[in-house]
């Protein structure tokens, strides 16, 4: 049975056991002298849990694990039959076997070994499915049987049900941690494999990035080089340009909105600026690549500047626009959190409104603003679509914002999009870049938290 039909079976069994359990406790209760501990619905739910909980867990685990086991078995089978040690050949044979099994290649393309392996593979798959259905249904029926015996008037069904519910909730909140662990592990695992072919120092400090890998040994210019400094430099430049745009506009509009603006203006302008945050990044990318970049190039040509059509300037400017609402809403919050008494005190000393803001409010809000800027930087570094669409692809170590540069995220996309074999250094490099990206953004977030916690004054 397929996983979905098994699941449907379990759902049906669950429904049945709910009504069955409710009837049973109802029967026991009618005319009994003892008082019932839990309400009917808990007894019914208890039976549902007995019937479905363990089988569903088994179903999920089996479905997740069995392909891995079957693949390993198939690999050892082919290894024994074909007497080949080459991993590449083996993986081609495995792919062929699976394709033939799935019916996507015709019999003309396979030899006897593959045919045999396909039979073996089909056997394994069929047996695994049979065993899974058998085990799951057996456990479910056994669960109902055992559960029914426990249902009794004084049985504390509510406690059992609540314990299971709490367990499920704990697991749900652990998923977040599992995700982080998954990210770190998968990135580190692939990165270690990458560093088996390229040294760490070359990656982190090398000045040359051209991830072409030789298909043949003797190919000219085939040796890829993985020095990531040009990528880091490009990312920094675009982030810097973005910040030059975003910090003044975001900060000044936050100050004006929280200190000067009438409630009416605030009611219009604040959602307006936040609308910028709701626009998908692919839209900004389109805007940067097809509106801003040609505009800058033509404008630059008019005043005698040569701008690349994928200039860092265009990507940076548009990324800055994207970041504006981020800085303005975070700064707005911290400026509003500065107590009014501070402003009143400054006004009483004869300071003008802007003097109050510059000399009292902003210093008091500074830790929050700095942390907002740090978060914005982390956001800009990890931003992908704008730079993929508007920045360059070729790694270019330059400090000229009119030239085209590339960034870490662009390279990750370029290395992974399209057909790829999973073992080449080229693919693995993307994971190494992802790891760097993950740790830089993590460090910036932690730093932002630290700044707020360390330097914030407690006024109340």
């Amino acid at each position: 049975m397929s996983a979905s039909s098994l699941f449907l079976c379990l759902v049906g069994l669950g429904l049945f056991s709910f009504f069955f359990g409710r009837r049973r406790i109802h029967r026991l209760a009618t005319g009994a002298s003892q008082k019932q501990h839990s309400r009917d619905v808990y007894h019914a739910s208890f039976l549902v849990i007995c019937a479905t909980f363990v089988p569903i867990v088994l179903l999920v685990i089996w479905t997740g694990i069995s392909p891995l086991v079957i693949d390993a078995l198939l690999e050892s089978f082919l290894k024994a039959r074909a007497n080949t040690a080459s991993l590449g050949e083996l993986s081609v044979m495995i792919a062929k076997t699976k394709a033939y099994y799935a019916g996507s290649i015709s019999a003309a393309f396979i030899d006897d070994t593959i045919a045999e392996a396909t039979n073996y593979y089909a056997d394994l798959v069929a047996h695994s499915l049979q065993a899974r259905s058998f085990a799951v249904l057996l456990l479910a029926i056994a669960g109902v049987g055992l559960g029914v015996r426990k249902i009794a008037l004084r049985f504390t069904a509510r406690h059992s049900v609540e314990r299971v519910a709490q367990l499920i909730m704990l697991v749900a909140s652990a998923i977040a941690v599992l995700t982080t662990v998954g990210i770190v592990l998968s990135l580190i695992f692939e990165t270690i494999r990458f560093f088996a072919t390229v040294s760490v120092t070359e990656f982190l400090f090398g000045l040359h990035w051209s991830p072409q890998i030789a298909i043949r040994e003797d190919q000219a210019g085939g040796s890829g080089s993985f020095g990531a400094i040009p990528l880091f430099a490009g990312t920094l430049m675009i982030t810097f340009i973005a910040m030059i745009v975003a910090v003044p506009i975001g900060l000044m509009s936050a100050i004006y909105l929280s200190e000067y603006a009438s409630p009416r203006l605030r009611g219009i302008a604040k959602p307006g600026i936040e609308m910028l945050a709701g626009i998908p990044t692919v839209v900004y990318g389109f805007f940067a690549a097809l509106v801003v970049a040609p505009f800058l190039r033509d404008g630059g040509a008019d005043i005698g500047l040569t701008l690349s059509s994928e200039s860092a300037l265009a990507a940076g400017l548009v990324m800055g626009i994207m970041i504006i609402p981020f800085i303005s809403s975070l700064s707005d919050d911290v400026i509003n959190a500065v107590p009014q008494t501070l402003r009143d005190g400054a006004a009483a000393l004869g300071a003008t409104h802007s003097e109050t803001i510059k000399q009292v409010v902003l210093p008091a809000a500074l830790p929050g603003i700095v942390s907002a800027i740090l978060l914005a930087i982390s956001r800009a570094i990890g931003e992908t679509m704008i730079v993929v669409m508007a920045a360059g692809v070729a790694a270019n170590l330059t400090a000229n914002p009119f030239e085209s540069v590339t960034t870490v995220t662009v390279q990750i996309v370029m290395l992974l999009v399209g057909d790829q074999e999973f073992d080449s250094a080229k693919t693995l490099a993307a994971f190494a870049l992802g790891l760097v990206l993950f740790f830089i953004t993590l460090a910036l977030n932690i730093l932002a938290l630290y700044v707020v916690n360390k330097y914030r004054e407690q006024y109340d």
Partner: protein
């Protein structure tokens, strides 16, 4: 008692301070105006460049549906293209020679044959008769008629040749050219031809993906929030989980794509380009964005509600399920809708797992190859044909309208059900 005197120096200083005040205020107004103008410019430029894509020019042809082109037994595989071209040539009896005839045929879109076929399939009685039917023109001709391609340009800079222009003018003079709303943009799947490319496949793909995201992230997010806010003891473990969730919300989206590629596709062997994997990746991304507002919604419920329920003998879980959760539901739904809207606009992680393939068919389930709206926009934006720029902008307009609608729903929910305690 000292006398306060307005000396010249004081006056000058005061004026300077007031000037600084005005400057500062002007900077503030300038910043807001800049942001507003940018928003207007962005929206305006996209809206204007999208307009051509919402209409399409057709040429009305007299088509004789004869046995010469049509195999009545096998209508689907008949020579509809030849029929459309022959009918066009009938308008221009003076055109002779293979090359000219072929150039004439190029006025029509490849989709013109589909127009004829669909009409005949819908009206079988038209077999053997002569019909008048508007059929799709090719993208370059369409752009020329819309004025996007300037007809005053010299011939070698213009995509449309002088010969084509003359033919076209004749058709216009005969009043055979009509402009209609381009329904194909909503009913067709993707195509290499701009005039035929539509968003139907991408819209359905987005729906499938978001369905998976919702089913995976909503229950998990709400359960996690209940646990962390209402049940968990305040200890080291829950503190770690909390910090983790906040950090997860700040991880760049592309890293989630890498996770999906390494874990879902390479480790578990799930299919590439499928809404299932895309939805799961987006679910992991959306999870913290649901947990955080849900926790805020729980925290906003006053403790007196919980105490009253406990006072009449409810267990902790009963308090949550019967009282706190229903009361927090509007806040939870608002947070979920906003989280899903963000997920709907996400592109980068989906590129990693191959949801940007060229897919003509409309996906039929969550394991079929599919693409989503933002990825479709990205692919169209990479197309060199000029007409695709309008198509891309139109895609963006559709995406933004959808997001606006979704967010407006969220705001409505909040306003309608919000309770002040």
């Amino acid at each position: 008692m000292t006398e306060f005197r307005q000396t010249e120096a004081r006056k000058a200083q005061l004026a300077k301070r007031y000037r600084a005040e005005y400057r500062f205020k002007a900077f503030g107004i300038g910043a807001i105006c800049t942001a507003g103008l940018i928003l207007l410019f962005l929206m305006g430029s996209i809206l204007i460049s999208s307009l051509p894509a919402f209409t399409q020019h057709y040429v009305t042809l007299d088509i004789e549906i004869t046995e010469r082109h049509i195999d009545t037994q096998n209508l689907a595989n008949s020579d509809w293209r030849g029929l459309a071209r022959t009918s066009l040539r009938a308008q221009f009896p003076e055109v002779q020679g293979r090359r000219d005839k072929r150039a004439l045929g190029k006025l029509l879109s490849i989709g013109a044959s589909d127009d004829v076929r669909d009409y005949v399939l819908a009206n079988p009685s038209s077999l053997g008769t002569k019909i008048r039917l508007p059929v799709t023109l090719s993208d370059d001709i369409d752009l020329l008629l819309k004025g996007v391609i300037d007809r005053e340009l010299p011939e070698n800079e213009r995509v449309v040749s002088n010969q084509n222009l003359a033919w076209l003018d004749k058709l216009v003079a005969e009043d055979r050219i009509s402009r209609q709303f381009a329904t194909k943009i909503f009913t067709n799947g993707d195509s290499r031809e701009p005039e035929l490319a539509g968003l139907h496949g991408a819209l359905v793909g987005t729906l499938w993906t978001l369905l998976v995201t919702l089913l995976a992230s909503f229950p998990l997010g709400v359960m996690a929030a209940i646990y962390l806010e209402e049940i968990a003891p305040k200890n080291r473990l829950t503190r770690i989980i909390e910090v983790n969730i906040n950090n997860l919300a700040a991880v760049p989206s592309i890293v989630f794509g890498l996770l999906g590629l390494a874990v879902f596709i390479n480790f578990f062997g799930m299919p590439r380009s499928a809404p299932l994997v895309g939805g799961l990746v987006l679910a992991l991304m959306t999870l913290p964005r649901i947990i955080i507002p849900t926790r805020a919604a729980f925290a906003a419920i006053p403790p007196s509600i919980r105490e009253a329920a406990m006072g009449v003998g409810a267990s902790r879980l009963q308090v949550i399920m019967h009282h706190v959760l229903p009361l927090a539901m509007p806040g939870i739904l608002t947070g979920t809708i906003i989280g899903l809207a963000q997920a709907a606009g996400e592109t980068a992680p989906l590129l990693m797992i191959g949801m940007m393939a060229f897919i003509v068919d409309v996906p039929s389930d969550v394991t079929a190859k599919a693409t989503v709206l933002p990825a479709q926009i990205y692919m169209w934006a990479n197309n060199p044909e000029r007409a695709f720029m309008a198509r891309t902008s139109a895609g963006i307009v559709v995406l933004l309208s959808l997001l606006l609608l979704v967010n407006a729903t969220a705001i409505y929910f909040r306003k309608r059900f919000e309770k002040r305690w």
